[in-house]
């Protein structure tokens, strides 16, 4: 397994989780795998932080959870975006793009002199 190229920026975990779950219900490990896969292993989720984040989002009402069975017949807890969560995701995405745009502007700026 290759070491991850990027550390996860603080505060972006929530955004990633919301976005990931916007595709449909997933259990915790599924989320990890999906993010790692999608970022081509460049982004590795710290599992110890993932679960508290999922539970916090559920407590806030952005996610809801449900017990279900995996393909292999294992019992797992599935998370899913709520209507409020979907709205939150849109807001967070908007915020993130403004932020990254701002960062990009700074990085691309010509020297002052």
């Amino acid at each position: 397994m290759t070491p991850p190229d990027l550390d996860l920026l603080r505060g972006t975990l929530d955004l990633l989780l919301l976005k990931t779950l916007s595709w449909g219900a997933m259990h915790g490990l599924g989320v990890v795998r999906w993010i790692e896969q999608t970022t081509r292993q460049r982004l590795q989720i710290e599992e110890g932080a993932l679960y508290p984040a999922l539970h916090r989002l559920e407590a806030r009402g952005w996610l809801e959870s449900e017990w279900g069975y995996t393909e292999k017949g294992r019992r797992a807890k599935y998370y899913q975006l709520t209507v409020v969560g979907r709205r939150q995701l849109a807001a967070e995405v908007h915020k993130w793009s403004r932020y990254s745009e701002a960062v990009r502007l700074v990085l691309n700026a010509e020297g002052a002199r």
Binding site: M26, E46, G68
Partner: protein, 886 residues
């Protein structure tokens, strides 16, 4: 590779409340680890290595697990509360909708509850003010008054002598704080119009006893008296505002009381009132002469030591009584059979209001019970109409609890509305009590909707919900789904169980209201008898007022005699005044004076009680002015003066009691001075229309000018207002510094002595009428409900040829049976409780047959009317309509 889309089967979704947080967290993490281990093993790791790797990747498992549990628990708690609030909110919305759908029921129920709760609020505010928190004083429950009783003199609950009070002040075994208080009044002069001030002389630790701290300046203490510093005055807060405009600079200012100069040293805090009206507080000086044979003038107040119970106090007072009996000089002569007793300050101040308030509190409780029974009735009737709705809801899967909760919430809405309106009614009632009765009962002036009263109202409201809500709720929850739906389909009559409950509740209302009606009836009879009682004089058109001569300026007896001689002559000469006179102690006034006497030639037989008579001093045309008839001999004339032989006039009760058929005129009696009886006048009531006539001996003020103040009496044919201002002018012409005070019509004084009874009667009558109406409404409601449910059956009966008369008789009979049972129960209840009324009745026994007869008849007649309406309606049922209806 993931099971993102597939494999998700919803299996269960537990309600949040019963979620097993710990189990779920561990299951979730367990799944994660196992899945990982499998994945790693698939990549070629051994089982042990895979486990190690998986755990390492995860991080600190127990810490994360604990955090997850914490987050979940908080969420569960918050959401549980939210869900509960949601459910209650839904119930409230539903309840409001249901109540809006039956506005008649809602209005009657809320109004009924409001009346019951309002009446309770108003009466409790009086109970709270008079009996529970009359003074805002710490340790109020430990404040007691020591009283002296001499049954031989009919003196019960009397005051102590100065030396007795000093004895108590010196003792430390009973009271931790002790004060002696003596009521007095002063002529305030030297600052504008002369005024009469109500005052109090105190000894001991009066101010400490009530835990007072001065608003301004300081209070006087025992040291002041020891230093001979007795001309000190503390002002009541109200008087300070009036007299000095609330100026703190009043401290140190002189104030002229009875012609003597006192120094103002302090002001009492606002809100403290002793005897409601005392304006000036000065130290009580006990002179050696007072110590020797002082008058009974001191109210002895003490705060019980912690740990001493009232019962122990009583026992110790008995011991002190026997100790004092053994020491001559400390107690009155042994033949007086004196004894000491105690009474709590609260009870003493409540006085005649106490039995009254207890009675009224009992009465309003009955009113509330009736109101609750009525609302319960209404609900049962309404529930019958809704039983189909409830049964359908039950059949659709609503459990018993949600249905009960729904009804409880509905009851809660009714109660809150009833309580709110009740509070409003109570507030209005309190305001009118305050304004109407403030003159007679100063204690009622301070009625407020304060926190204790509000708490009481809230408690009463909750109790009411319990009373009126429980039966309908339980009944609704027991609804038998199949039975109701089947019954409804067939249109048959309501279950008999509900009918029994309804009838019992209506009968209970009849019973309670009979009790109230009879209580009110007895009070009305008492009052009527009292009003018919002849006081022995004619109080109409008599103006009375007091004038008191300050001893400093009127030191010598002839000055006093001269003054009152001139005053009565001037008053009698006023236009519109027929006659004028004066007396030392006016009937229905404040004071009275009683002494033993002997009759020459008629010694007291051994073993007989000593002879005792009231002593009165008369000036001018007093008997004629008051309308007291002269029965034998003559009244006082100008020839009876200082230096001429002492004469007296006795009243008829003394003549009858001690002279029988003999002629008392010319006989000689001794009551201190020896005098010759010159006439007999009619007996009069002195302070209370209920009391027995007390032997009285009248002297002329000219021969015995012992009093410095007299009550002036004027019989007038003019408007009292005009006469009073002329009388004031006449007094001012003689002495500008004398205040004219306590100006009242004689009739007012007599009426006010009935104030408590009158108030009790009015209020109780109001409650009784209210209860009667509610009970009749109850009877009416139950019967018309019964007939409306039986429309179908009645239709069949009528179609089969039943005479309308028979139907009327059937319904009427049912109503009368119910009323009869209620009357019997109410009568039994009343007879059992009636003896508690004895203390406030006059002339009638608590089981007066006439009152009972009238009360029962009124209720029975009302019930016939209440039953007649639905009975008529039942007879008019159109059989065709009735049968088609289903």
């Amino acid at each position: 590779m993931t099971d993102r889309w597939g494999g998700l089967r919803r299996i269960f979704r537990l309600p949040l409340r019963s979620r097993d947080v710990k189990g779920e967290v561990s299951a979730e993490l367990q799944f994660h680890l196992e899945e990982r281990i499998e994945e790693l093993m698939a990549a070629g790791l051994s089982r042990a290595a895979a486990e190690r790797e998986a755990r390492e990747r995860f991080g600190d498992l127990p810490v994360v697990g604990a955090e997850l549990e914490r987050i979940d628990r908080r969420m569960v708690r918050r959401r549980g509360l939210g869900e509960w609030l949601d459910a209650v909110g839904r119930d409230v919305r539903f309840g409001l909708r249901a109540l809006r759908k039956s506005p008649g029921f809602t209005a009657v129920a809320v109004l009924t509850l409001a009346l019951g709760i309002g009446a309770n609020t108003a009466i409790f505010s009086a109970v709270n003010r008079v009996l529970l928190h009359p003074l805002d004083v710490p340790y109020l429950d430990r404040l007691f008054v020591v009283q002296q009783n001499m049954p031989g003199l009919k003196l019960i609950g009397g005051q102590l002598t100065p030396s007795q009070a000093e004895e108590f002040a010196a003792r430390t075994d009973l009271f931790e704080l002790f004060a002696g208080v003596s009521g007095t009044s002063f002529n305030l002069t030297g600052s504008g119009e002369p005024q009469r001030l109500a005052g109090v002389r105190t000894m001991g630790r009066f101010f400490d006893l009530f835990s007072l701290s001065p608003a301004v300046g300081r209070f006087y203490h025992a040291e002041d008296s020891r230093n001979g510093n007795t001309r000190l005055a503390v002002l009541s807060n109200g008087f300070w505002q009036n007299w000095a405009g609330g100026d703190p600079g009043v401290v140190g200012r002189p104030i002229e009381l009875n012609g003597e100069t006192y120094q103002v040293i302090g002001v009492l805090p606002a809100g403290f009132r002793y005897r409601q009206n005392a304006q000036v507080f000065v130290p009580l000086e006990i002179t050696p002469r007072m110590r020797q044979q002082g008058p009974w003038m001191i109210t002895a107040l003490g705060r019980l030591k912690p740990g001493v119970t009232p019962v122990q106090l009583g026992a110790r007072l008995e011991r002190i009584t026997s100790e004092w009996q053994a020491v001559p000089g400390k107690a009155p002569p042994p033949e007086f059979h004196f004894s000491l007793s105690s009474k709590s300050l609260v009870d003493l101040q409540a006085g005649e209001l106490k039995p009254l308030l207890v009675l009224l509190m009992a009465a309003v409780s009955l009113v509330l019970l009736i109101a609750c029974a009525n609302v319960a009735n209404l609900q049962l009737v309404r529930a019958a109409g809704r039983s189909k709705e409830l049964a359908v809801r039950a059949a659709m899967g609503a459990g018993r609890w949600p249905i009960m909760r729904q009804l409880i919430v509905e009851n809660g809405i009714l109660a809150v509305a009833g309580g709110t309106f009740g509070l409003l009614l109570g507030f209005l009632a309190i305001r009118s009590l305050r304004s109407v009765q403030a003159v007679d009962f100063p204690a009622l002036r301070d009625l407020h909707l304060d926190p204790p009263v509000l708490a009481f109202t809230a408690a009463v409201t909750m109790l009411a919900v319990l009373f009126f809500g429980i039966a309908p709720t339980i009944r609704a929850a027991r609804t038998d789904v199949h039975g109701v739906l089947r019954d409804a389909a067939r249109g048959s009559s309501a279950g008999s169980g509900r009918n029994r409950l309804l009838r019992a509740s209506a009968a209970a209302q009849v019973a309670f209201s009979l009790m109230l009606l009879l209580g009110a009836g007895l009070l009305i009879r008492s009052l009527a008898l009292l009003l018919a009682t002849d006081p022995g004089f004619k109080p109409t058109r008599v103006v009375t007022f007091q004038v008191t001569l300050p001893p400093a300026t009127y030191q010598h007896a002839p000055q006093k005699v001269d003054f009152f001689d001139q005053l009565t002559a001037r008053l009698a000469a006023l236009p519109g005044v027929e006659t004028a006179g004066a007396i030392s102690d006016l009937p229905f006034g404040d004071g009275r004076n009683s002494s033993p006497f002997t009759i020459e030639g008629k010694p007291v037989a051994p073993g007989d009680p000593e002879r005792h008579a009231d002593m009165r001093f008369v000036q001018g045309d007093y008997f004629k002015t008051l309308g007291i008839p002269l029965i034998r001999g003559r009244s006082f004339g100008p020839e009876d003066r200082d230096g001429s032989p002492w004469v007296s006039v006795i009243d008829r009760s003394l003549a009858q009691q001690y002279f029988g058929s003999e002629d008392p005129v010319g006989r000689s009696i001794n009551q201190g001075p020896t005098s010759t009886i010159i006439g007999v006048v009619g007996a009069i009531k002195h302070g209370d229309l209920t009391e027995a006539d007390k032997p009285t001996i009248y002297y002329t003020y000219r021969q015995a000018p012992w009093y410095s103040g007299l009550y002036l009496t004027l019989r007038t044919s003019q408007l009292p207002g005009v006469v009073v201002s002329q009388a004031r002018a006449a007094v001012a012409q003689l002495d500008r510094s004398l205040p004219v005070y306590d100006v009242r019509l004689m009739q007012e004084r007599v009426d006010e002595s009935l104030g408590a009874r009158r108030l009790a009667m009015m209020v109780l009558l109001g409650f009784a009428v209210l209860a009667l109406l509610l009970a009749l409404l109850g009877v009416y409601g139950v019967l018309s409900y019964g007939t409306s449910r039986r429309t179908h059956e009645l239709g069949i009966r009528l179609a089969l040829g039943a005479a309308p008369g028979a139907v009327v008789r059937m319904v009427l009979g049912g109503g009368l049976l119910l009323t009869g049972v209620g009357l019997l129960v109410g009568l039994a209840g009343f007879l059992a409780l009636a003896r508690f009324l004895s203390s406030i009745l006059y002339g009638v026994g608590p089981r007066d047959p006439l009152t009972i007869l009238v009360g029962v008849s009124v209720l029975a007649a009302g019930a016939v009317v209440a039953a007649w309406v639905p009975a008529r309606r039942a007879a008019r049922v159109d059989p065709v309509e009735a049968l088609r209806e289903e």
